[in-house]
Subunit: 308 residues, 2 copies
């Protein structure tokens, strides 16, 4: 007698996109479809409050189909232990979320830097579909990013915003004491600073963008300068990783795509070694805010597959 | 009846360190011991001459114990096909050495960039013993290097000398059209240029080193400057890869270690994100010229293990 297997329902994952203002969670399938969603404000008080909110965000969605949990966190994650070392805008410094969530829910757990998670999503489902190696830059308040090598997310820091592109240049803000890092030269924060320099204390990145689109020479010059720094950093990444594609996303990156991407690609080709110097593509991200949630789900499936 | 296995002799590999002036080959065991050696000058004429010399360097050492071949080549290697794209000082552009050698000798073949190969050797047997992730810089005429992630050699370009550390800075020489790359700012060639600037057309890197050791202020200032650029690049690598250790080797790197390594470590810590900013170690390479030969043998074993 032949035993007939009953097909198990395809497993789902819960992906959590954890930000300083909200926690978005979703039930995600292997193809990155979000079949249910949940969103709550991020508590600002203590570690305990945040952890309780994270657990509630899982509990709101969990059912028997859920096989793994994935978290995208704005933090440095220890490469080996997966412990959160230092989080940005969240009281989760030095916290072992993998251990906590595995004990609380009895499932495999992945914890990743939020920009890494977005890079994974873009590589599988967004601008990087078909590319086996991809570098993604997310230009927002700061500059983050991630690296996908041969289809797999690089699990190291990938603090792409903190490469030096202008030794001795302007200093970073916050906990970084470096100088001339990409984040200090080409980001939403850098654009805010430039806007204030050019147009006074009330101007910001949006104002700078509007002036550049009107053809204001000073604004355009500063976008050319930012494009040069972004191109320098991307040229460095190309010479290190030989990616098929470089994807630029993030709030500022998307808002300024029309002004930045073509000159960034040109500048990056100048810095890239041949034969990539003629073929390198710099493309806009496609998934927008959705990348965090979907990518966290994909990280959960990666951990599930490693565990089985 | 229990079958008794006869222990096969441990396999050996032939590693070839292929340079512009000589081809060094060696019979290497898994532990990196070199049990036999061979060396011939590199022909300078045609691709065919070089390939014949490479084959002869294998034939001189091959016996029944040899299970794989590994080549370290001063070249860009295509990440996927392993084809040599562009070689430095060798007529091997656009040549499929893996295919050629596999057909000629019927063995698994690894072909790697020479600096990557040296990084693998340092990580297993040299300064990087015990470190799971290591970045190595080889400072010679140019700047090369390699990255070992979690014990395995990163097989991409890792053109570490061509990261931009000073956007808009001095241009590279040869086939690179970039500006402000590490190689143009801190290498044997850069030191030669600085020596000529300071002391006239006959001065070179050795003279600059001698003057700095005598306490010459101008020479020391330029070493401080080079240390800053090296520290900037290393800070970038640390923020990307979170290595346990950064190793500096190469002819110029070894000759100038006493002047460079301490200030380089200090500068790199300034650019590194915490908590590595307090713990980062920059150490001298230990294997010297031997790294190329031994590393090529280790690459052969990596390919052998992947094939089986």
């Amino acid at each position: 007698m032949v035993a007939r297997a009953v097909a198990a329902p395809a497993p789902l994952a819960i992906g959590l996109d954890v930000g300083g203002t909200k926690i978005a969670s979703g039930l995600v399938d292997r193809e990155g479809n979000v079949v249910a969603r949940h969103e709550v404000p991020t508590p600002t008080g203590s570690e305990q409050e945040v952890v309780e909110a994270l657990d509630a965000a899982v509990t709101a969605l969990i059912d028997g189909r859920v096989a793994a949990l994935g978290y995208g966190i704005p933090a440095n994650i220890d490469r080996r232990t997966r412990r959160i070392l230092r989080a940005t805008n969240l009281p989760l410094d030095d916290f072992d979320l993998v251990k906590h969530a595995a004990q609380a829910f009895g499932l495999p757990v992945g914890v990743e830097n939020d920009a890494n998670v977005a890079a994974l999503a873009e590589s599988r489902l967004g601008a990087g579909r078909g590319a086996s190696t991809m570098v993604m830059l997310t230009l927002g308040t700061g500059v983050g990013g991630g690296i996908v090598f041969d289809g797999r997310l690089y699990r190291g820091w990938a603090e792409i915003g903190h490469v030096v592109v202008l030794a001795g240049g302007p200093s970073c803000q916050g906990h970084c004491h470096g100088h001339g890092h990409l984040e200090a030269l080409a980001s939403g924060t850098a654009a805010d600073r430039i806007a204030r320099e050019l147009y006074g204390p009330d101007a910001d990145a949006h104002f700078l963008l509007a002036r550049a689109r009107e053809g204001d020479a000073a604004a355009l010059e500063r976008f050319t300068e930012m494009s040069g720094y972004l191109g320098a950093a991307i040229g460095s990444f190309v010479n290190l990783f030989d990616p098929d594609l470089v994807v630029v996303g993030g709030g500022f990156g998307e808002a300024a795509a029309d002004l930045l991407l073509a000159p960034v690609q040109e500048a990056a080709r100048r810095e890239a070694l041949g034969p990539v110097d003629e073929t390198l593509r710099v493309a806009p991200a496609e998934l927008g805010n959705e990348a965090g949630l979907v990518g966290a789900g994909l990280v959960a499936f990666e951990v599930l597959d490693e565990a089985s």
